[in-house]
């Protein structure tokens, strides 16, 4: 790809961007949120028409103006934002447009057999006939990967495929990538997880502000160099000292929370100024616990105490009025009012603060605070009146964070707060969380990235199959966490588990 330009109304997403991929190589594409990575790949895969520049395949210029043409040219892509048909089954999703037929009639059994074969080759345990809607984001992501694999393309683009995956699944994905690589498939790999880049890629291309910065070999180049290419400066990543919060008053206490198989007798507490990390495998029930506390889902039993007072929470508004904020793991579905602008999304949870007794809004006040947060969190947006859905994924996430910061809650639950966020912003968010804790806020961080849990948490709660299998100190080892996260037998025997917890 050479000299690619692409502009959106008010935004120049790509300017003279370039990229080169060899057969059988894994080529990482890196850059901050909004650098233009996804846009470049969408140009390559026929989603967007480029404004200028050329695309060469095997040295010959090609015109790719539709996803179909890209497929025919042997290019397939896993999009950053999940693009699945929620009402169809996994198998139906994977083979959409290429359904096996017999005498013009869909051959559903063949479809499911083919899908099962792909799942098997991925070591993925999933029924082909399961409705996508009922799957967690992680499993949906696996379905997307399966779909991309099913095309057997020469070029496979993966736009943040691991953002929703846990370590075991990531390892599985890397095994698949290595296999494809051996078969001569060229792979474009976009991710914000530095360690992955080192583990999997051969070369790294870095973009900044829609422009090409440079390409370096992955093995020889130190991570710091790549990061400074991305952000144009060096980041200091010194470890954070864990403060002692054991003397602080308890801010949030959960006792005996239960719901069906998803949440089984979960009890824990968070103190003011403390960051409690929640670790566990995909589907361990962390999100369920958070949503139950927040009142987003119903709970069967259990007490919630805020600042030593028992509170009845039946809806999110009860939780918010008690000073609890929840940043959900699926920003598109649950976090953003996508049609609204950045300013209103930031103000969404605090609108009454900007409302005078007559019900009239203080637009200037909203603008001011929106701008404050845009600056503070370095949200990349042309203005605070840009529609939120037009921001890049990572910047959308920052907007949702800003919403809860503005709301000024005492207790904050962050579910996968750095999903899809670049290193620079990630360390900003870590700093932010540390500051919030230092201000005395009680914070729960749910994350599937162990380094993140270890980096942030003062204490670490580990869940497995709906149970809290233990709470570890913040300096616990990865092995200890994994042991608790996979402690299924404990889940079977309630008394055994209690001892550990």
């Amino acid at each position: 790809m050479r000299n690619i330009d692409k502009s959106f109304p008010g935004v120049r997403a790509l300017s003279q961007a370039q990229f080169e991929l060899m057969p059988g190589e894994v080529h990482a594409l890196m850059g901050e949120n909004g650098a233009g990575k996804s846009t470049l790949m969408k140009v390559l895969s026929g989603v967007y028409d480029r404004d200028a520049g050329e695309v060469l395949l095997d040295g010959k210029a090609v015109e790719i103006t539709s996803p179909r043409q890209a497929q025919d040219a042997g290019i397939s892509i896993i999009h950053q934002e999940l693009a699945l048909m929620r009402d169809l089954t996994a198998a139906q999703n994977i083979f959409i447009g290429r359904e096996p037929r017999r005498f013009g009639i869909l051959d559903e059994r063949q479809l499911n057999r083919d899908t099962a074969a792909i799942f098997k080759s991925m070591n993925l345990n999933l029924e082909p006939t399961v409705l996508v809607e009922t799957l967690t984001i992680a499993k949906q992501q696996m379905v997307e990967i399966a779909k991309a694999l099913s095309y057997r393309s020469r070029v496979l683009i993966m736009d943040e495929p691991t953002a929703a995956l846990n370590d075991a699944e990531i390892a599985e994905l890397f095994a698949i990538i290595n296999r494809l690589k051996a078969e001569g498939v060229g792979i474009v790999y976009i991710s914000h997880k530095m360690d992955e880049i080192k583990r999997i890629s051969d070369r790294v291309t870095v973009m900044r502000d829609g422009e090409y910065v440079g390409t370096v070999p992955a093995a020889e180049t130190p991570i710091e160099t790549i990061i400074s290419m991305m952000v144009g400066r060096t980041l200091n990543t010194e470890a954070h000292a864990i403060p002692d919060t054991s003397g602080q008053p308890v801010a949030l206490e959960v006792k005996g929370l239960n719901r069906g198989r998803e949440i089984r007798d979960v009890s824990f507490s968070v103190r003011q100024g403390e960051i409690l990390g929640f670790a566990g495998l995909m589907g361990a029930g962390r999100t369920e616990v958070a949503r139950a506390i927040f009142g987003a889902d119903r709970k069967e039993s259990g007490e919630i105490w805020v600042h030593g007072e028992r509170v009845g929470i039946t809806a999110p508004r009860d939780a918010v009025s008690k000073g609890i904020g929840y940043l959900s793991e699926d920003r598109k579905l649950f976090g953003l009012a996508t049609g609204m602008d950045v300013r209103n999304n930031i103000a969404l949870a605090s609108l009454e603060r900007f409302t005078n007794p007559a019900g009239v809004l203080d637009e200037a006040g909203m603008e001011k605070s929106a701008r404050d947060y845009i600056r503070q969190l370095a949200i990349k947006t042309p203005s605070d009146t840009q529609e939120a859905r037009l921001l890049s994924g990572g910047n959308q996430q920052k907007v949702v964070i800003a919403k809860w910061l503005l709301r000024d809650c005492d207790i904050l639950i962050f579910d996968e707060p750095t999903r899809g966020i670049d290193v620079g912003a990630k360390s900003e968010i870590y700093k932010l969380l540390n500051n919030l804790a230092a201000q005395g806020k009680a914070i729960i961080v749910i994350s599937s990235e162990l380094p993140e849990i270890l980096r942030l948490s003062h204490r670490i709660a580990v869940m497995c199959e709906g149970r809290l299998t233990g709470i570890l100190p913040g300096d616990a080892s990865q092995e200890e966490i994994m042991r608790l996260a996979t402690m299924r037998e404990a889940a079977m025997r309630p008394d055994a588990e209690r001892k550990i917890a």
Binding site: R68, A83, L84, M85, L88, I96, L126, G283
Partner: protein, 331 residues
């Protein structure tokens, strides 16, 4: 960990599927039971046949609109398109004296052609389905009047035409259950549509479009072509409805049809199809159409004053859908 969960879940889905289908009838059954208890005349064979006969046209229209709604669209033109197709049949058979099968084919093709146009306006010009089909509704209404010269066209020169809806092939074989052909045609259309929805690529894309059109596009599918196909199929089914109503009245009534679209859409939604697309069943739509007919018939049998019939119908439509929502929530 999915190993253990998966099979259980699968049979779970199957079970609830069957259970679900059974329960979907519950609203209908409740109505039937209430009316049977309230009036001895309700459960007569003749009345049951009258109810089925009354369902035929609305049922066919509702099935047609189900397809469009599953794609996430809506079709306001079904009522006037039905009339337009009936008028076309009248022109072919009465004005031009063509043989009956050609008249029927003409009506169905006219429906398909109109669907093709609506579909093209929606898919290519990106006009929202509500507006595209509202426009078509008016255009077709006007054209029906123009073509027919604002007069009904009678089918007196086509003997046997009124047997399409009113005759009973079943009754010739089993005299005890003289189910009118119109009703059998409704069932045939339902079966065929259910087959297309469940077993063919067109059906698959119908659901896929309503579920996430952008995702389908990104998968390299020619979204526009399939969408137009769905509208055309839907139009063809409306054409069948046009033949049915023409046969039932032995005439093409050019002013008929407006308002029928709302009743058809109501049947679809009562039948559990979501207006936001992606899900829906033909069986549900059939049940929805039956609920509406049973309600209208039962209230008449009970001699409820007409203004109160309206009030009761409105209330029961809301309650039926609410009951359906409660049932789903429990499952």
């Amino acid at each position: 960990m999915t190993d253990t969960a998966a099979p259980a879940q699968k049979s779970g889905i199957r079970m609830t599927g069957a259970f679900h289908r059974l329960l979907a009838f519950s609203g209908l059954i409740a109505l039937v039971v209430v009316f049977s208890l309230a009036s001895p005349n309700f459960m007569q064979t003749q009345n049951i046949l009258a109810i089925l006969q009354a369902t035929a046209v609305n049922g066919v229209l509702a099935i047609a609109v189900t397809l469009v709604i599953i794609t996430g669209g809506i079709d306001l033109s079904v009522g006037t398109l039905m009339t337009f197709c009936a008028v076309i049949a009248g022109v072919f058979l009465t004005y031009w004296g063509l043989p009956m099968p050609i008249g029927i084919l003409g009506a169905i093709l006219a429906g398909a052609a109109s669907g093709l146009i609506s579909g093209t306006v929606v898919a290519k010009l990106k006009v929202p389905p509500f507006i595209a089909t509202l426009g078509m509704m008016l255009i077709l209404k006007g054209l029906s009047l123009v073509i027919s010269g604002t007069r009904p066209i009678y089918f007196n020169d086509t003997p046997g035409f009124n047997q399409i809806a009113l005759g009973s092939v079943v009754g010739q074989i089993i005299p005890a259950v003289p189910v009118p052909n119109g009703v059998m045609i409704l069932f045939l259309v339902a079966l065929l549509t259910a087959f297309i929805l469940g077993k063919t690529a067109l059906g698959r894309y119908t659901f896929a479009l309503g579920s996430n059109e952008e995702a389908v596009r990104l998968s390299g599918v020619n979204v526009d072509r399939w969408k137009i196909g769905v509208y055309a199929l839907s139009g063809a089914i409306v054409g069948v409805g046009g033949v049915l109503i023409a046969s039932r009245l032995n005439s093409a009534q050019p002013a008929l049809g407006q308002g029928y679209e709302l009743e058809a859409i109501a049947a679809v939604v009562i039948g559990g199809t979501s207006l936001s697309g992606g899900r829906g069943t033909v069986l549900g739509t059939l049940i929805g159409a039956l609920i509406i007919s049973v309600l209208a018939n039962g209230l008449r049998i009970l001699s409820v004053a007409q203004e109160w019939q309206t009030v009761v119908t409105g209330t029961i439509i809301i309650l039926a859908v609410y009951a359906d929502i409660l049932r789903r929530r429990k499952l």
